[in-house]
C-alpha cells in the first residue's frame, strides 16, 4: 500500500516545498502534534535525562539531529527499500546516525557524553524516530520529511527543555547551572529524582490538555 502512494510525490525537491502548506508540516510537530505532550511518545528519555536543563537540551538536540538525518535518508531511499525489510532498514539507518551522534558528542565534550550516559545509544529505540520514519518519511518527499523532522525534533527538544528546566529550577535552584534562587529557597530534592520526572510530566500534560480543551470548546 505504502509503496503505491509514493507515486504521488514524485516531484522535485524544491517544487514540493513550494506546493505544500509547508509551514504546517513544521508547526504541527512543535505544537499540535507535539511528540511528548500530545503523542506521549519517547517517554524514557523525556523522564530520565530531564533532571537538568542542559541534559534535556543536549538530549533533545541529539534526538532531533538523528530524526532529521534519518528522515532525509529514509525519504531518499523510500522507493528503493522493499516493504518486507523496511523496519530493519530504518533501524539500521537510525542506528548509524546514533553512532555518528555518539562520536560527535564525545568530540564536543566528554563530560556531556558522560552525563547523557547510556541514553545516547538508546536514541535508536526512541519510538518518535521510528514512528516518523514509518508514518511520514517513507511516504513523503525529502522536503516535507525535512520539515516534519525539524518540527518534531524541535517539539521534542522544547518538551524536554520544559521538563528539564522546571525540574532543575525546583530541584537544584538553578537554570543551566546558573544559581539564582534566594538563599532561603529549600531545594525540592524529589524533583531531580526519578519521581520528580513523573510529577513534572503529569503537571505539564495537565496544563497542556486543559489549554487544549478550553480552546476546542471556544
Amino acid at each position: 500500500m505504502s509503496l503505491i502512494s509514493h507515486k504521488k510525490s514524485e516531484k522535485g525537491f524544491f517544487n514540493s516545498i513550494a506546493d505544500h502548506p509547508s509551514t504546517d508540516e513544521f508547526i504541527k510537530g512543535v505544537w499540535r502534534e507535539n511528540p511528548v505532550f500530545v503523542q506521549v511518545l519517547g517517554m524514557c528519555p523525556s523522564l530520565a535525562v530531564s533532571n537538568s536543563a542542559i541534559n534535556a537540551l543536549a538530549m533533545g538536540l541529539a534526538t532531533a539531529f538523528v530524526l532529521l538525518m534519518s528522515n532525509i535518508l529514509i525519504s531518499l531511499l523510500r522507493d528503493f527499500i522493499p516493504k518486507q525489510v523496511r523496519i530493519a532498514s530504518y533501524i539500521l539507518i537510525i542506528a548509524t546516525f546514533v553512532t555518528l551522534t555518539d562520536y560527535t558528542i564525545q568530540a564536543i565534550s566528554i563530560d556531556l557524553h558522560k552525563s547523557l550516559g547510556a541514553f545516547i545509544a538508546l536514541i535508536v529505540v526512541n519510538c518518535i524516530i521510528l514512528s516518523r520514519a514509518e508514518a511520514f518519511a517513507s511516504k513523503n518527499s525529502v522536503g516535507k520529511s525535512i520539515l516534519d523532522a525539524l518540527g518534531m525534533g524541535l517539539g521534542f527538544t522544547f518538551a524536554l527543555l520544559c521538563i528539564g528546566g522546571l525540574r532543575e529550577v525546583l530541584g537544584s535552584g538553578s537554570f543551566f547551572g546558573y544559581e539564582f534562587m534566594p538563599y532561603f529557597f529549600e531545594k525540592w530534592v524529589i524533583m531531580v529524582l526519578p519521581a520528580g520526572g513523573f510529577f513534572t510530566l503529569a503537571f505539564l500534560l495537565l496544563i497542556f490538555n486543559s489549554y487544549k480543551m478550553k480552546n476546542s470548546k471556544a
Binding site: L3, I4, H6, K7, A48, V49, L73, L77, D79, F80, I81, P82, K83, Q84, V85, A88, S89, L92, I93, A95, T96, F97, T99, L100, Y103, T104, Q106, A107, S109, I110, D111, K114, G117, A118, F119, A121, P194
Partner: protein
Amino acid sequence: MSVQTQIGNNIQGNDKKIVIAMASIGLICAFLIVLTYQGTFSTIEKNKAEALEKAIFKVIPGISKTKAYQFNQDQTFSATNSNDAKIQKVYAGYDSTDQLKGIAIQANGKGYGEVLNVLYGYDPDNQKIIGFFVLESKETPGIGDNIEKESFMANFNALDAALNDDFTKIKNEITTVKQGKKTNDWQIDGITGATITSRAVGNILSASTKLWVPLVYKNKKSFLINDNSK
C-alpha cells in the same frame, strides 16, 4: 527510476532485491560510520586525555602537577611522554614542593552491562587508596551510576591496600560488602539496589591492586623527582 518502477511492479518483491537493498543500505551506513570515526578520532583522544588529566587531580588530592610513567618489560617504571594507548601507564601526582603524593592507576572490568573504566589513587607511603573516579560507565542511570555519588566515593578516602610483610602481595583483598556492613578498612560499603555494579567496582579494584600495588610499591623510588636533575 528503473529501480523504482521495478519495485513498484513487483510489490511482492523477490529475495534478490531484498538482499541487494539491505546490503547497499548496510554499505552506506558502514561508510558513514567509518568516515565519522576517522574524522572525530583525534579530537576524542585529545578530550579523553584531558578528562584523564582532570581525573588524576581528583583521585590524588592536593597535587599541583602530574607525570606519566610507562611500565617496562623488566618490571620497572620510567617517565614517558608517549600518547600510545597500548603502553600500560600509571600517573604520579606531586604537590607544589615536588613531593610525591600518590600514584593514579587506571583499571577496568565488567560492570552490569558494559565495561567499567575507573581510575584510583594509591598512596604508597600510607599504603592506602585515597581516591576513586569513574572514567567511563554505561551503568543503568539512576541505579548503577550511583557509584559516582559522593556517598559511595567516601569509601575511597582511605581504603586499605596494605601489602604483606615482604611487600609482594596485598594483605587483605578489597571486597564489596552489603550496604552498612563495612567493618574493616579494606571493605567497600556496597549500594543496595546497585549490588552488581558496586560489587564490580570491588572486583575491579581487587584485581588491579593485586597486580599493580606490589609493583608500584617496589618501584616507589623511581617516581620521586630527583632534585639534582634540575
